[in-house]
């Protein structure tokens, strides 16, 4: 009995279901491609694309501790953000962090990559490990370690920079030096990864170029300036883009080392959103900030894809 119903059932399906099944089968055969993409697309849709729209929507509501049920307020959240001096301080801090960390990190990475790429024998792998290992350390742990190093009284940093004639500083407790301290720590944490990327690119430059240049009497600096530097331009652009995007994401260091202080001098965008959402429980404002952040990133992406991306591809090919 059960068997016979099972056999009959398909014929009883409504016409739309049969049609749907047919298109489904057609897709399977013709472009089953979509089926392969489905698992990824589901997660991308829920956790990358839906949040963009969702936060834009939420940003139009007042929804905080005092207003537990969301009330539509239009662009009021954005207007109050615009008038909020702290937002501008936060954006300035992000800019300062990017300017302070990216050029130094890139220069250090390039410099050390060129040196490590020389014939250094067995020592080379030791150098690579020693310069790269901070990448393996969680940022939170690294931040913890540097809080100890920046300790004003008995920290290593003040002790050794004292030898170089630098004054003792309060570092994380000083409103002018807290952000530079975070920048120093982040450079230490990140330059090794970029050094590896430069090393990979350096190994792609044919040795004959250098030999020919040496025969022409070019010195080390001339070879660097005329061969290495121009040929690394696509890599530098790649590193620059990665560094900018990750500079916007700075959070862990700030959370552990300063909590945005002193006096918000190290408060950065992600921490600011975190504060609004999880300290003040102001979801509306948090969503407005999230939307601002996403728009910033989208503009950045457009710039990357339009100019930088194209150039990197052309030069790399």
């Amino acid at each position: 009995m059960a068997d016979s119903t099972a056999v009959v059932t398909p014929a009883r399906l409504p016409a739309w279901a049969v049609a749907l099944a047919a298109t489904g089968r057609f897709r399977f055969r013709g472009g089953g491609a979509y089926l392969y993409l489905l698992p990824s697309l589901v997660f991308l849709a829920i956790f990358t694309y839906y949040p963009m729209g969702f936060s834009a929507y939420l940003s139009l509501f007042r929804w905080n501790v005092l207003t537990p049920d969301p009330v539509f307020v239009g662009v009021a959240n954005y207007l109050s953000l615009w008038r909020e001096p702290l937002l501008w301080l936060v954006l300035r801090n992000n800019l300062f962090y990017a300017l302070g960390s990216i050029p130094t990190t890139m220069a250090l990475a390039l410099f050390l990559a060129v040196l490590v790429n020389q014939k250094l024998g067995a020592a080379r792998s030791v150098y690579r490990v020693a310069l790269f290992y901070p990448t393996m350390i969680p940022m939170v742990a690294a931040a913890m370690l540097w809080v100890w190093i920046f300790n004003p009284g008995i920290g290593l940093f003040n002790y050794y920079t004292g030898f170089l004639g630098m004054p003792r500083l309060e570092w994380l407790y000083d409103r002018h030096w807290a952000l530079p301290a975070i920048i120093i720590m982040s450079i230490w944490k990140n330059f090794g990864y970029f050094m590896l990327i430069y090393l990979a690119a350096l190994q792609g430059i044919p040795a004959e170029l250098y030999e020919a240049a040496s025969l022409e009497g070019a010195g080390a600096w001339a070879r660097f300036r005329r061969i290495t530097f121009p040929l690394l331009a696509p890599t530098s652009l790649f590193v620059f883009v990665v560094a900018i995007i990750s500079s916007f994401q700075v959070f862990d260091q700030v959370f552990v080392m300063t909590q945005g202080g002193p006096a918000d001098q190290t408060n950065v965008l992600v921490f600011y959103i975190y504060q609004h959402a999880f300290r003040f429980w102001d979801i509306g404002m948090g969503a407005a900030l999230t939307t601002v952040f996403i728009c910033l990133l989208l503009v950045l992406i457009a710039v990357v894809f339009r100019s930088v991306g194209r150039r990197v591809y052309y030069e790399a090919d």
């Binding site: 491609a33 997660f43 694309y49 839906y50 090393l199 990979a200 979801i283 990133l297």
Partner: protein, 274 residues
């Protein structure tokens, strides 16, 4: 002679930079082995004497770091296992099939690389709250199950495998998933390993997202455990804090030292292709 000298200068410069980079970690190890009162010295005492291993035992007494380690292992392997499936399937069709909307769909994958969880954590938190998934290990994994970066890397690898191979395989009746499993994946193994290592390292180090979606110790990972430990021990007991920090960093560092060549190749290689 001049060449010799410049060679020596290179060695010295790199060695000095390497030393400066290593110093913070040595200081961390040194502090973690001291007695509480020994850290307050006017000049840094590099060699802890007498050595005190008690800090490590005390850390374990005060917070369940063993459990944090297990949670971290579950979360990173869970993410990697699902990523391997989603990424290979997607990379395969992007590399091998022509279909309508392929370019736009690929762009959707790429954009994910630039819209990180740091930008979307608030709406994602609300989503997980409405799904009633907060404070679970799955919550820490879900946003990372699809990877635009992994798809991109693997697509490049698949593309370098000759097309004739697939034509031959299809004629022999080994198309689609079987071809992917028996031919493409073994041939793209270096890329899979590289992506796997990068995924493991970056999720081992995740902080913001696990911080937001967890609020009890039983699901917390090492990084969150360390952060909580810092707040809990706000009396600035440096020897204890440093011992906890060593414990959080050591597993990955030890694996890195053992397989350093593989790690370094992977990170180099993916940067080059990225």
């Amino acid at each position: 002679m001049r060449r010799r000298l410049s060679h020596l200068a290179t060695h010295l410069t790199v060695a000095l930079c390497a030393l400066i980079t290593v110093i913070p970690y040595l200081w961390l190890l040194s502090t973690s082995l001291k007695y509480k009162t020994e850290v307050f010295t006017p000049t840094p005492q590099w060699i802890p004497w007498p050595i005190n291993l008690g800090n490590y035992a005390e850390v374990f007494d005060r917070a369940p770091f063993g459990l944090f380690l297990i949670n971290t292992l579950i979360v990173v392997t869970g993410i990697l296992a699902v990523q391997m499936v989603t990424v290979t399937l997607a990379a395969y069709v992007f590399a091998r099939r022509q279909f309508r909307g392929a370019d736009i769909l690929f762009l959707l994958f790429l954009v994910q690389m630039m819209i990180p969880i740091h930008a979307t954590f608030l709406p994602n938190f609300l989503t997980l709250r409405s799904l009633d998934l907060l404070n679970t290990r799955v919550a820490m994994m879900l946003p990372f199950f699809a990877s635009g970066y992994g798809t991109f890397l693997l697509r490049q690898a698949f593309r370098q495998i000759p097309r004739d191979l697939e034509d031959a395989a299809v004629i022999d009746g080994c198309g689609g998933l079987r071809f992917l499993w028996h031919v493409l994946i073994p041939l793209a193994k270096p890329t899979l390993v590289a992506f796997g290592l990068i995924s493991l390292v970056s999720h081992w180090n995740d902080y913001l997202w696990p911080l937001i979606v967890t609020d009890t110790p039983d699901v917390r990972t090492l990084t969150i455990g360390l952060g909580m430990f810092v707040q809990q021990e706000s009396g600035a007991d440096w020897t204890l804090l440093m011992a906890a920090t060593v414990f959080v960093t050591a597993p990955l560092l030890v694996i890195f030292l053992v397989f350093q060549r593989k790690f370094i190749e992977s990170f180099m290689f993916t940067g080059l292709k990225g």
